[in-house]
């Protein structure tokens, strides 16, 4: 982490109302820039020239392979609370990272000085590091082949660039959201807009020159109600998802709304933040007086706004090949989903469980045309009909699985970070039979229906997880009876997925996602989406999370 951090992380998290969530948020590095600068792109011819300088210098210095990423990373944060804007931050980070193989070992070096002489120097430095690393290497790097992409470009298919919308208008929109929440009974409200643009140019000695312009957006909100007399407070976070879309996500189109059996409104490809703020204030107030839920065994009905995070933790991370073989043992951990289990057709879930990895799904956070080592992205099965059939591998890991190509899920969070295996979008396929959440609930005798994501924690091999939520509803004899509080469910991953007795149809399918998935040492962040329809899991262990401090 460099010293040019311009975001006051503590204030930022507090402003977003996220401190309680303990969200992993490594530093955003970048120079603070004028908002107008966020609307521009770098000249492709210049990027190609710089890339060729590095490729030639590395090859001349003895590299058998070289790739160069010339990156420009733009971020804008608009942070508000109640009636005022707390901060507007625009950052820009430009530089180049050069990765090489020399003497069978990897080497990496990066710089923000984009003069040709310096790029060549950095390329030679990467080769020198690779040669030094080769002395301790027990086996040479084996790189799965990749076809030259030629000269190509790709852009996230956005309709409205968030950076084109004047800051004043965006701030005004958030302040209107806050006013709506306060008018509906919120004591406090924080709302934030993050917009991200990654302008990434990739070139390699395989002959690829790939120019990509990637956009992401997130509009988190947190509503708090306080009952001072009772010494009690409750929060309800917004039910939006971070998306790989433009500002059009905030259009709030009625056609993208789904009214759930609990009466809560959730959103597909278009979010009505103001409407959600009003409902959030009312539901937060209801949480103050909702009865505390009795712990025990219940059938769980999980809305996609909740299930996405359970998929992320119990499937997404568990099937990353670098974790499986031990590269992350010191920090994020390893995985229960071993190669042995893969080879022996491990029953990961019931026959209703089909989990797919995907780097191409429109609107998702992970969607790109090529990954950060120039591999064309794709969609592939991880669990089919309940059976573990594959893992997530990049070029230097493909051989471990006997694959002849990478899965295309390599990513670096900056030009200055070395690219490595990161989670693709991992999603639960909808059920084939027609079924709505209401149909599903009608069949549940004794259960709990959970909407929104809450606290989340899972062990270092991804067995034992515990998940909360935003909203909990008791189900009795096929009907939702009341809103309840203090609920968390505990899972053991294989038992959880094997207890899945149904998944609603595609009309209920929605994407959730995380902007700040952390992995690696030093940690890098990544954004990833997880789709699902509402799903039912029988006999789950529900704990009561209420405590008394005396």
């Amino acid at each position: 982490m460099g010293g040019d951090l311009n975001l006051r992380r503590r204030e930022f998290l507090a402003a977003c109302g996220l401190t309680a969530g303990g969200m992993l948020l490594p530093g955003f590095t970048g120079q603070v820039v004028d908002a107008e600068d966020l609307r521009t792109t770098m000249d492709v011819a210049l990027k190609k020239r710089l890339a060729n300088v590095a490729l030639n210098a590395a090859t001349k210095a003895g590299a058998s392979y070289c790739d160069v990423r010339v990156g420009r990373y733009l971020r804008q944060f608009i942070i508000t609370r109640e009636t005022h804007v707390e901060n507007v931050i625009n950052t820009e980070s430009i530089g180049a990272g050069v990765r090489v193989i020399a003497d069978g070992a990897w080497g990496f070096a990066a710089t923000n000085d984009l003069s040709e002489d310096n790029i060549a120097r950095v390329a030679r430095q990467a080769v020198a590091i690779a040669k030094a690393n080769s002395h301790n290497q027990t086996a040479p790097v084996q790189l799965a082949p990749v076809k030259s992409a030629g000269e190509v470009s790709w852009r996230t298919p956005i309709k409205k660039n968030a950076f084109d919308v004047p800051i004043k208008d965006k701030a005004e929109m958030l302040l209107q959201v806050n006013a709506a929440a306060l008018g509906a009974g919120a004591t406090f409200v924080n709302s934030t807009l993050f917009a991200i643009n990654e302008q990434k140019y990739f070139a390699s000695t395989d002959g690829s020159y790939i120019d990509q312009d990637v956009f992401r957006l997130w509009a988190p909100m947190n509503v708090t109600v306080v009952d001072k007399a009772a010494g009690k407070f409750r929060q309800r976070q917004g039910l939006s998802a971070p998306v790989g879309m433009g500002f059009e996500y905030l259009d709030g189109l009625p056609s993208d709304k789904i009214t759930l059996p609990s009466g809560t409104v959730v959103y597909g490809k278009s979010y009505d933040m103001k409407e959600d703020a009003i409902v959030a204030a009312k539901q937060a107030r209801a949480k103050l007086t909702a009865p505390s839920f009795k712990p025990g065994k219940y059938d769980l009905v999980l809305d996609p706004t909740n299930l996405y995070l359970t998929i992320h933790e119990s499937v997404g991370h568990a099937t990353e090949l670098d974790r499986v073989i031990g590269y992350e043992a010191d920090f994020a951990g390893t995985s229960f989903a071993t190669l042995d289990k893969l080879n022996n057709h491990f029953k990961y879930g019931s026959e209703h469980v089909n989990l797919v990895a995907d780097k191409v799904q429109p609107g998702s956070l992970g969607a790109v045309a090529y990954d950060d080592e120039g591999v064309k992205t794709k969609r592939w099965d991880i669990v089919r009909d309940g059976i573990l059939v594959d893992l997530q591998a990049i070029r230097d890991q493909a051989h471990i699985l006997g694959k002849t190509e990478s899965d295309g899920c390599c990513y670096a969070d900056s030009w200055s970070s070395v690219q490595f295996q990161r989670m693709a979008n991992i999603s639960l396929e909808p059920g084939k039979a027609k079924m709505t959440a209401a149909d599903m609930i009608a069949d549940v005798e004794n259960g709990v229906y959970i909407v929104g994501d809450g606290s989340y924690s899972i062990d270092q091999q991804r067995y034992n997880g515990q998940f909360g939520g935003q909203l909990f509803f008791e189900i009795k004899n096929g009907k939702i009876t009341q809103q309840v509080e203090d609920v968390a469910y505990q899972i053991r991953t294989p038992e959880f997925w094997n207890s899945c007795v149904g998944v609603c149809d595609e009309s209920d399918y929605r994407l959730g996602g995380t902007f700040f998935d952390g992995k690696g040492q030093p940690p890098q962040i990544s954004s990833v989406s997880h789709g699902s329809s509402t799903a039912r899991f029988n006999g789950a262990n529900i704990i009561n999370t209420a405590r008394s401090l005396g």
Binding site: G21, T29, T187, S455, N464, Q490, Q521
Partner: protein
Amino acid sequence: MTIFTEDQARSIVSKVITLSKADECTATLTGSITGNARFALNNLTTAGIVENTSLEVEVAFGKKLGTATVNAFDDAALERTVRRAEELAHLAPENPEYLPVDKQTYVVTETFSSPTAAITPDYRAQVAADSIAACKAAKLTAAGFLEDAQGFEAFANSRGASGFQRSTVLDYSCTARTADGHGSGWVARNLQDSTSFNAGAEVRTAMRKAAASTDTKALEPGKYTVILEPAAVAGMLGPMINLFDARQADEGRSFLSKKGGGTKIGDQVFSPEVTLFSDPAYPNAAVLPWDDDYLPRSHLSLVENGKVMNLAYSPYWAQKMGKAAAARPGNLIMQGGDKSTADMVRDTERGILVTRLWYIRMVDPQTVLLTGLTRDGTFYIENGELKYPIKNFRFNESPVIMLNNVEELGRPVRLVSEGGGGGRRGGFFNGGSPLGQGVTVAPALKVRDFTFSSLSDAI
């Protein structure tokens, strides 16, 4: 150039102040060199160096703020950056909570060590090699990470406040696993001065725990007496200390809010054994003598003998509430005793020794209920001995309850603050370390009735 001398740095920030036409101007120059080496599967996997220098200029016209940064330091670049910050301030909405800081006097703190600043790529490779060699010889698999950094921060504002300070840090961790994957042990060290660091010796702790933790038995979940090693204690303290914020407490959204209004300052919230404070000059845990807002740090008592003494008041909130603003703490010290963890085990009839806690998350901010899991060395204690390794547990426990059940405190050690990180201005506790971490000094704790709610198969 990444690391400037004091004269060079002060001259740049002073020049920036004179260039500004705004009502207020603050210039901050920071630089760092960070090196790392990562290893896994008994191999060095990545190694690198990142150099970074940046000047941040923040200006204010009334309560309208603008910030710009640059990494070139010639006169033209400085001028351009000041003008850009001024333009942005004119376009910005008012921040009603902005308050400028007057000239201050800062205490002297020892945050720099020359040996740490002199660490070379060879040194890092040797740390990895020493860790790997020891593990390999014992048929264990090592995965670990060494990161070291040196940095400086210089600032000046138009009201006369200014400062310069250099700092260093070394952070090491290693996980040793048995070849069959049935045992795992961990060790971590965080130091400002690398002189005493010896990876080959440190790694023995991880190796011992790995070898001793194969063949676990499963205990029933429930309430147990636990000895939490310092890393586990720091993990429990971090999320709670984040809530020692006066504004949140006054607003009624904290466990430190009083029923009916107000805060719990002055209340006995914890056991009388519990004393927590911050001190920027604390030996071996020194941090920058100023906070993000350049308020001067000094000794700040948070909890004394179980009683809440102070909360953090931002300048804005202090003014609004008619209180004195205090700087944000840069470190957290929990007072301990003299006993080693081994001594504490010897004095325990029945209990569980916990090496570290993992994936700690807030379940309920109202009660600071946290969940997470034990990891990398969890043992059953009987009649003063480590009887056998046990399967890992998930806990659901509030540090507030935990600190009411303290039976014994061990010898404190320096650790990375949990929940910190993220650069120069990261975390509630931001010690200004060039790795962006705060520092916690925590003892091992013996605690009764610690709540484990389920078993984990993870190793």
